[in-house]
């Protein structure tokens, strides 16, 4: 059960399954999700709405909604040469509370609802420090102001005593980053942190996160749907579709040379600044099915241009196409290439 045996991993998810109870039904939301994160690296989890990327983040820190449950699998987290199995810990027990916020920091998308509007922001950041360390309030204040300064919040002494509504979206996201990093966690999980922000502010925030990775050696999991953003910040990329990781590898492997039909389609459907305006954007036929609809076979089979009967018969396993690149598709040949589509079978 040690993570440090082969590679220095900080987090290792092994075949994690999450099920949600909805009325009388049980819906299978995460399906055998396996992810491993080397210490100090930046992992991006991409996919469209409903693919389970946020649930993965919630499962790691045990913050699943009340009707959700990890039904099987292991989540191993390694910190201070000590491996813990997060899924075995009690949800609100002391150990889990020490890890959550202390060893694993979290940043969420909606800053206005994650911050308490009735408390001064400085105090909300300091709260986390006081929770995890035995220090005085004055010392906490000094450390928070220091961090605000590092994160580029102007006039930090005064801003410590400001309320969330007095901050702009970009500044509030900096406060969220402060809350997530003030306890010097080893791992930071950021769930769509810049989706609600303008691109110029997004660029500032991403530079900040990247600096934290490079200078403080922190590991990151960034959950996003923006492929171009991924290509700028990620070391590793996991592409998810309907609760399953369909492709995993380094950023160069997955984005420059995507192999899974879904990854390919996802990349081709985003217009870029140098796109040829006369070429139609590639679309994926249909829409993502509900997780209750697909029970056997490949989850993408219903929309895939490469589909054959075998795709729908049994669960598709990951195929290793290089030491770091895995793809969940049976249509790849021995060289890991998809067959060439002949007329009519393309997505129109």
């Amino acid at each position: 059960m040690t993570l440090s045996t082969s590679k220095d991993l900080i987090l290792d998810l092994k075949k994690v399954n999450v099920k949600f109870k909805v009325e009388d039904d049980t819906i299978h939301i995460l399906r055998d999700v396996s992810l491993s994160l080397p210490r100090g690296s930046f992992l991006c989890v991409v996919g469209e709405s409903g693919c389970g990327k946020s649930v993965t983040a919630q499962a790691i820190v045990q913050l699943l909604p009340d009707n959700g449950q990890i039904s099987s699998g292991e989540i191993l987290f390694s910190s201070d040469n000590n491996d813990v199995e997060l899924n075995k810990l009690e949800k609100f027990g002391k150990e889990m509370r020490d890890i959550r916020g202390g060893k694993i920091g979290m940043i969420f998308q909606d800053t206005l609802s994650s911050l308490n509007p009735a408390h001064k922001v400085g105090r909300q950041v300091a709260e986390s420090l006081l929770q995890h360390f035995d220090i005085s309030k004055d010392e906490a204040r000094t450390r928070v102001i220091e961090l605000f300064r590092k994160l580029g919040i102007p006039d930090p002494e005064r801003r410590y005593d400001a309320y969330p509504h007095e901050f702009s979206g970009g500044m509030r996201q900096r406060v969220m980053i402060a809350i997530a990093t003030v306890c010097e966690p080893d791992l930071v999980i950021a769930d769509e942190p810049t989706t609600a922000l303008d691109v110029t502010i997004q660029a500032q925030i991403m530079t900040l996160l990247k600096d934290l990775q490079k200078t403080a050696g922190k590991s990151f999991i960034l959950i996003t749907h923006n492929m171009a953003l991924v290509s700028e910040v990620a070391d590793h990329v996991a592409v998810m579709y309907l609760g399953r990781v369909v492709e995993y590898g380094t950023v160069n492997e997955v984005l420059r040379d995507p192999r899974h039909p879904y990854t390919k389609a996802l990349m081709a459907s985003v217009p870029t600044l140098d796109a040829d305006k006369d070429v139609e954007l590639q679309t994926v036929e249909g829409q993502t099915p509900s997780p209750a609809e697909v029970t056997v076979g490949c989850e993408f089979a219903g929309r895939c241009p490469y589909v054959i009967d075998a795709c729908k018969e049994k669960t598709i396993e990951m195929t290793q196409i290089s030491s770091s690149h895995e793809v969940r598709c049976i249509r790849l040949d021995a060289n890991g290439k998809l067959p060439v589509l002949v007329g009519g079978a393309t997505n129109e």
Binding site: M171, V199, T200, I201, Q204, A228, A265, L273, T283
Partner: protein, 334 residues
Amino acid sequence: MSNSTTPLYKVGQIKKHFPVLGGVLRRTKGYVKALDGVDLEVFRGETISVIGESGCGKTTLGRMLALLDKPTDGELSFDFGNGLQDVRSLRGENQMKFRKKVQMIFQDPYTSFNPRQRVGAAMDEVLRVHGVKDEAERNARILEACEMVNIRPEYLQRYPHEFSGGQRQRLAIARCLATKPELIIADEIVSALDVSIQAQIVNLLLKIQRETGLSFIFVTHDVAVARYVGHRVAVMYLGNVVEILPAESLPEAAEHPYTIALLSAVPSMNPKAKEDRVALQGEVPSPIDMPSGCAFSTRCPSVMDICRTERPVLKISNISKGDHQVACHLNKGA
């Protein structure tokens, strides 16, 4: 695309100032200058993409063009077929005639339909309001519009919650098309959709435009989508259009320092783009206390003395000329 010489819709020095109330007596303390003198000409068959960051006034501009808000000052004239005619003074039936020609689609397809009305009935209502009295004709128009957006006719009997976001957005487009408008103002219509669905809607819009020759104002914050969809791109900053240029000339031809910074902030698959990034410092100033002179002067990397005192106006670019206009003191005009 300015092949015809007279525009379909002309916007001249349009201003919208929202009062800021304060104190016990709710007196006006100041104004939010959401639009501060915007000039724009929309030609037939043309798509203008309007881009800019939140708070730059792009949505207000769209609402103003659709007459959903009254401008504080400025000119709005529309060509009903016999030359440009002022639309700000239109009332009653004449205003309805304008609304039929200029339709709007909103960002959130979940809230732009009545949840208790079948979508077919919602579309029928629009046509009845616009005076299509004959039921057979209404049905024919609805079916035609549905065919254009690939919605099966039997779906019209369903309620809005039975559709996915992408389908609902297509229905909203169909509802608009049924009145046979000449200009559609689309405000962030793909922003809430997943990328694969976004691509379907973008392709659909382009197809509709090819087939019908409609004009579009496409308001978005996504620069790449704006460039892909539009013939021309208008860049807004703090209530002003700072640059208008042909879409295909982006990103290379951009001249305004703000456009350049905005483009370079867009994440890119191209590793070189990151190296050339212009990092903008600070944030957009509040539209209540606008900087004097050029609105961008507080953040501009190439700011000069004149920028702080004198507001630059849109002038034809002295570099690329033609269709390209820039409001910047660096541009000396053609």
